[in-house]
């Protein structure tokens, strides 16, 4: 049988800043195509750093990391990054913001415009194409950011607490939309969050991290089938899973408080 190779593969990775403290230690993780992996853990556990390593924005010290079998930097065409704030360029309209990655890759104007229109329509923002970011609400900005990330149809989407600043209703809705987008153009996701419920709703795998040094504490499988409906949140199994992850999170947060 043909073996599927991981899209992201960490092998005993360690990262420290110069001679300073170890930021990440013994990171082993094989992200398989189609996975939606959430990284959750106390602040300072290096979960955002994990994403930076994958995107090739940050070097590591020991061990190995490959993305699609390549060095992270060489695999940039395969991935897109969604930041904590929407990171839209304020001087560009929503339309031009979504066109940006295509423009940077010198995609011809006609194709670029059409693709960006299509992406904005997909996230429900066809009407505000010509708006500037400051005219958009927080949720709308994040949708533009998602549309921008998906214009290049990346295999791998890295999301660094993208919905952390939004109210709970908007966050839940965007969670549902993100999964719906995944049905249309499948991508593998690595998702950093502080919210256990969000992680359980979105992921098939949740990695709980501990701090000082940043390391993997436990991994939880979430077996609810996709596509997932909002009603899932009300089910007892969902709550049980949230409790399980919260318990693990509690284990790693306790020592830090003492």
């Amino acid at each position: 049988m043909e073996t599927v190779s991981p899209i992201v593969n960490f092998t005993s990775l360690q990262k420290s800043y110069g001679d300073g403290p170890v930021v990440l230690d013994e990171i082993n993780l094989a992200v398989m195509p189609g996975d939606f992996i959430s990284l959750i853990g106390p602040s300072g556990c290096g979960k955002s750093t994990v994403l930076k390593l994958v995107s090739g924005l940050s070097p590591w010290t020991k061990g190995g990391l490959t993305v699609a079998g390549m060095k992270p930097r060489q695999a940039r065409d395969r991935q897109a990054f969604i930041f904590q704030d929407a990171t839209l360029l304020p001087w560009l309209t929503a339309q031009h913001n979504v066109e940006l990655p295509l423009r940077l890759r010198r995609v011809p104007a006609g194709e670029r415009v059409a693709k960006a229109r299509q992406m904005l329509a997909l996230v429900g923002l066809a009407d505000v194409r010509e708006y500037y970011p400051r005219q958009l609400s927080g949720g709308m900005k994040m949708r533009v950011s998602i549309a921008r990330a998906l214009t290049l149809a990346p295999e791998l989407l890295l999301l660094d607490e993208p919905f952390g600043a939004l109210d709970e209703m908007t966050r839940n809705r965007l969670n549902e939309e993100l999964l719906a987008l995944r049905e249309q153009s499948p991508f593998t996701a690595m998702f950093v969050t502080h919210s256990v419920a969000e992680a359980v709703f979105l992921s098939n795998r949740i990695v709980v991290m501990a701090a000082h040094p940043g390391r993997f504490h436990a991994e939880v499988q979430v077996e609810f089938p996709y596509p997932r409906r909002p009603e899932l949140r009300a089910r007892a199994e969902f709550q049980a899973k949230v409790n399980e992850v919260s318990g693990l999170l509690h284990e790693v947060e306790m020592p830090a408080r003492s």
Binding site: L57, A80, L89, P90, W91, R105
Partner: protein, 264 residues
């Protein structure tokens, strides 16, 4: 909070202006000072009207010098900041010296500038240029270094070239800073030109600007006319600042937070 009536925004400055003129007139009447020490507001208006031809011609001359120096400062300031923003080596090597130059009062350099650039317009433009240049460089260089790090990361992730990063990211994000520099330069440019004209006031004839009029009225002890010249200079400065404010609005009003309306 109680609403501040919009009409007050116009009415209050007008009222304080009238009050100021009335006080001026009152002090003059009570003190019995002579006209060549403290002219009445009316005498100043009269002098402005009498000298209107001279003032207009002089203001036009000053405007040419100020605009020339301002445009040179804007162009060179833009280029300097661009280079300083791109290259860490250039920045480390030259920026401290720019600050040192900025600390040097241009007034001290005036005779040297006149010697090198020649009296008249070339010297006046050079002085204006020097005075307006530094605020532009200081502001815009700051702007070139204030690019949002997440935006830079976004560009890197898209494998953007250095020129793309410069044109599509660093320059646009430095624009508000550049324009802030231009605003300061716009207040300085007419001052620089008038100062330059004052220093080379003997270039007489019809070619003198407002600075030359200051020199000339002063030597003739035409004090009301001096006040009238001050008003003309103020108007010229106002036009410069208004023009840059207009440019600022044209470039930024659509997207920049400083033009955020209250209604949303």
């Amino acid at each position: 909070m109680k609403k501040f009536p919009a009409i007050f925004v116009w009415l209050l400055p007008l009222a304080s202006g009238v009050l100021f003129v009335a006080l001026w007139d009152g002090i003059r009447a009570v003190s019995g000072l002579q006209s060549w020490i403290l002219p009445t507001p009316w005498e100043i208006v009269e002098a402005a009207w009498r000298e209107r031809g001279h003032l207009a011609v002089a203001a036009a001359h000053t405007a040419v010098g100020a605009l020339g120096g301002f445009l040179l400062a804007a162009a060179f300031g833009f280029l300097t900041s661009l280079l300083l923003g791109v290259s860490r080596v250039l920045r480390a090597g030259f920026y401290p010296w720019l600050l040192v130059l900025q600390m040097t009062p241009v007034i001290v350099l005036t005779p040297i500038i006149m010697l090198w650039a020649g009296p008249g317009l070339p010297g006046i433009i050079t002085i204006t240029w020097l005075i307006s240049y530094f605020p532009i460089v200081a502001n815009m260089t700051q702007g070139m270094l204030s690019t949002d790090m997440n935006h830079v990361a976004l560009f890197r992730m898209c494998n953007a070239s250095r020129s793309q990063e410069m044109l599509l990211l660093r320059l646009p994000s430095a624009m508000p800073y550049f324009l802030a520099g231009l605003r300061i330069a716009a207040t300085l440019a007419p001052i620089g030109a008038i100062f330059g004209e004052y220093m080379v006031g003997n270039s007489a004839g019809d070619s003198g600007g407002l600075g030359f009029l200051v020199y000339s009225y002063n030597s003739q002890i035409k004090i009301p006319a001096l006040f009238a010249t001050a008003i003309a200079s103020c108007l010229l400065g106002f036009i410069f600042v208004a023009a840059v404010a207009g440019l600022n609005w044209a470039v930024l009003h659509k997207w920049h937070d400083s033009y955020e309306r209250d209604d949303h």
